[in-house]
């Protein structure tokens, strides 16, 4: 880290460098791009993975927080912070040329904070309509239903993207570019389309049957969860994380609980850690089963869909018996878990493990080697390792491209440092590798549960926690491995009982941002299969 400090000081002598938990660099807006580029090109350790890009409003200044990490070693993290005092026309430099994932994130920051990014090739608003007045995440925003009314009259989609480009002499030029060519034939896929796995909207230009270009429209379920969190106490926030990626509801909630526990320095009892880890793994299996089922359904195998849902019900029954919830179980709370396990829990889980193994064999027999399935997955939707890192595609999809990125391995939380499990990595990078990765990860999850289920220690399940929790001023980040990839919670606290800013790092946003790249040149029918293999959840993208 000493070496990085020297590099930064050479480029930006007046940058403030702090080594708190993580190296934090605060720079002027004009130094931002050179500093990040130096980190990106640093030869000993390339910081080529942008974990998350968070827009900020500090009252007098608007800014952004860049969380960088190295793809070869996820334990290394650097935070770069920049801000501008111009609230009327805030401008920052884009890092889209270095990180693919920055594109949609910068567009999101423009929609929510009004910060525009110089050199981003397409500076339309993401999540919100073009007609939206005001920037809702700014602290001085007051929602007025008269300005932004509910309506039943559709607004037209205009395919013209404004942008600000820096010319050679350093001048800034505002331009408008057409997203599609004049001759392009455009088909809308979504937002209400059963195969986009939710309310995704792909504007797709076609050449016959071949996909030429995809323009991703999102925000059809943008509920403003991060803004809602700012007016809630910490325990109140918990139920909102469940509704982000509802297939990994319990794991999301685990991340938020750990982030709050980290900030408030709460010790979690060991029994609760065991329960949390087992529940997380059960949730991961159920998430992968649903992903498998819907992916097969997308490829035309309706029976597989019914099979996947059937096995999933066994896990939901266990959840149901533990805490009365099926999909969203509300089990994790700050300091531990809300409900202890029931008396037959171990018996039920142990009965489920061999049952699931048998079914995995069955899936393998009847679908994994099916000629039609192979024809629609092998060498389709190819994602290279470089692109996976650039776009921040983690989880089974990232690992199918040869990127070892399991958070459970690199930044172990709960009991993952005490159990033994294999990280499933494949190098093919196609839909089939992603498909197989999920099935193999189910097996690994079963293996993890097996190691824990007999050793649950007795004791408390929840530490004593005050109803109003205050976190000391500072920034806290905690990431976990959900069924989709790396999910992170960022909390900036001002020492109050409410957070000052909350940001969720969404694995699905990364997965969807890479769709235009990997489905270019594919058949339209394969586009549906590719989206199925990426397995994204839309409320997690829109938040």
């Amino acid at each position: 880290m000493l070496e990085i400090t020297q590099i930064i000081q050479q480029i930006a002598p007046d940058a403030q460098i702090e080594t708190k938990q993580r190296l934090t660099i605060t720079v002027r807006p004009d130094q931002l791009h050179p500093v990040i580029e130096a980190l990106y090109r640093n030869e000993t350790l390339r910081f080529d993975y942008l974990i998350s890009l968070t827009g900020m409003d500090w009252g007098d200044r608007l800014g952004a927080i860049y969380q960088l990490s190295a793809s070869v070693d996820l334990t290394q993290e650097v935070i770069v912070i920049t801000s501008t005092a111009d609230r009327d026309n805030p401008l920052l430099y884009s890092v889209t040329d270095l990180y693919g994932t920055a594109h949609l994130n910068e567009r999101e920051i423009y929609a929510l904070f009004g910060i525009r990014f110089i050199n981003n090739p397409d500076m339309r608003r993401f999540l919100l309509n073009d007609q939206w007045k005001g920037f809702p995440f700014r602290k001085d925003y007051v929602h007025d239903p008269k300005l932004n009314p509910e309506t039943v009259i559709s607004s037209e989609i205009i395919d013209i993207a404004p942008r600000i480009m820096e010319k050679e002499g350093g001048e800034l030029a505002e331009e408008n570019v057409a997203v599609f060519g004049e001759e392009d034939y455009i088909v809308n896929i979504g937002p209400q389309h059963p195969s986009t796995h939710g309310v995704m909207h792909f504007r797709t230009s076609l050449d016959g049957e071949i996909v030429k270009k995809i323009d991703v429209h999102s925000g059809y379920i943008h509920r403003g969860i991060e803004k809602l969190c700012e007016n809630m106490t910490y325990p109140q926030m918990l139920h909102l994380t469940d509704r982000l990626d509802y297939l990994s509801a319990n794991i999301n909630r685990h991340a938020l609980c750990m982030c709050i526990e980290k900030g408030a320095e709460i010790e979690v009892p060991e029994r609760a850690q065991y329960i949390r880890t087992i529940m997380d793994e059960l949730q991961r299996i159920s998430s992968h089963l649903l992903a498998w089922a819907t992916h097969c359904n997308d490829l035309g195998a309706t029976t597989a869909f019914i099979y996947g849902m059937r096995e999933r019900e066994h896990i939901l029954d266990i959840f149901d018996k533990t805490c009365g919830g099926r999909l969203i179980i509300n089990q994790n709370v700050v300091g531990g878990v809300m409900f202890d396990i029931y008396s037959d829990f171990q018996k039920d889980v142990k009965a489920f493990i061999p049952y699931m193994r048998k079914k995995l064999k069955e899936y393998d027999d009847f679908f994994s080697h099916n000629a039609i399935a192979l024809g629609r997955m092998v060498r389709i939707g190819l994602l290279s390792r470089e692109d996976a890192i650039s776009y921040g595609v983690t989880g089974p999809a990232g690992r199918a491209s040869g990127w070892s990125c399991d958070v459970r391995r690199y930044k172990p939380y709960a009991l993952y440092d005490q159990v033994e499990f294999k990280e499933i990595v494949r190098t093919e990078g196609d839909s089939y590798a992603r498909y197989l990765n999920r099935l193999d990860e189910i097996e690994e999850s079963l293996h993890i549960i097996e190691q824990l289920i007999d050793n649950i220690p007795s004791g408390e399940v929840c530490a004593k926690v005050k109803p109003i929790i205050r976190i000391p001023a500072g920034q806290f980040f905690q990431s976990v491995e959900t069924g989709k990839g790396e999910f992170g919670v960022f909390i900036e606290s001002s020492g109050d009982k409410n957070p000052y800013r909350v940001k969720f790092r969404s694995p699905s946003l990364a997965a969807v941002s890479v769709i235009p790249l990997i489905s270019k040149g594919a058949f339209l029918s394969d586009l549906i299969g590719i989206t199925g293999s990426m397995d994204f959840v839309i409320p997690d993208i829109d938040r």
């Binding site: 509910e150 309506t151 059963p194 939710g198 925000g219 379920i221 403003g224 809602l228 509802y246 019900e313």
Partner: protein, 221 residues
């Protein structure tokens, strides 16, 4: 031909899967029936009407307008363990033009509202709407958000509300069976639509800035 409108009671509506006594709330439906009776007068119901009524109530084809978590519970309800097809509703249509009932499963935000209305307008009459889950009833946990529609009944008329976050498949079935009863009642009163909830208080046309007349009947536009 027989005359059956006089003396019609909730218990006369037979649902095969679920006896009338087991519904928790029969009073509300009885009130509707009384209201309809006052407005409807005597109606002749023939054997053919009975057949149509039986067929329609037992083959309500849904379109799932699934935006979030409730959509997953709808999928669970439609698959083997819960099996929606017991009630003749397994034919989930992907096109609104082939569907009878729209299940709004999930949060509806401002950006989605016009599209929801458009899908509803594309459905053929007779059509029904079921609001599934807290979000589509009132905005649910996101009530205070700047972007969330506080209940789909601000956009379209709703027949049945199913509370829960998300509702269990059992709750969904209960709601859909209630809908079946409403469909069956309808026939007795010469196709008069039973009461639906619709409160379009703040619909504004963004192009002109004018408030849209809440009395506009979108169905017969």
């Amino acid at each position: 031909m027989e005359e059956r409108s006089i003396g019609m009671e909730v218990n006369d509506i037979k649902i095969k899967a679920f006896p009338a006594e087991e519904f928790k709330d029969n009073d509300t439906l009885q009130r509707y029936i009384d209201e309809l009776k006052e407005a409807g007068g005597s109606v002749i119901v023939g054997k053919l009407d009975q057949l149509i009524d039986w067929g329609r109530a037992n083959s309500l084809w849904p379109i799932a307008f699934a935006t979030s978590c409730c959509g997953i519970e709808f999928m669970a309800a439609a698959s083997a363990h819960y099996d929606l097809s017991r009630f003749g509703m397994e034919v989930t249509r992907n096109s609104p033009r082939q569907a009878d009932v729209m299940v709004v499963a999930g949060t509806i935000v401002n950006k989605m509202a016009p599209l929801l209305r458009r899908v509803y307008d594309q459905m053929a009459e007779p059509k029904y709407v079921v609001a599934m889950g807290a979000c589509s009833i009132s905005g649910g946990p996101f009530l205070n958000s700047y972007n969330v529609v506080q209940g789909v009944d601000r956009i379209l008329p709703v027949d049945v509300y199913i509370p829960g976050c998300p509702p269990r498949p059992e709750s969904l079935f209960y709601g859909l069976l209630q809908l079946q009863r409403k469909v069956k009642v309808e026939r007795f009163f010469g196709n008069k639509r039973i009461k639906r909830y619709y409160r379009p208080e703040t619909l504004i046309n963004p192009k002109t800035g004018e408030t849209i007349d809440p009395q506009i009947d979108f169905d017969n536009k």
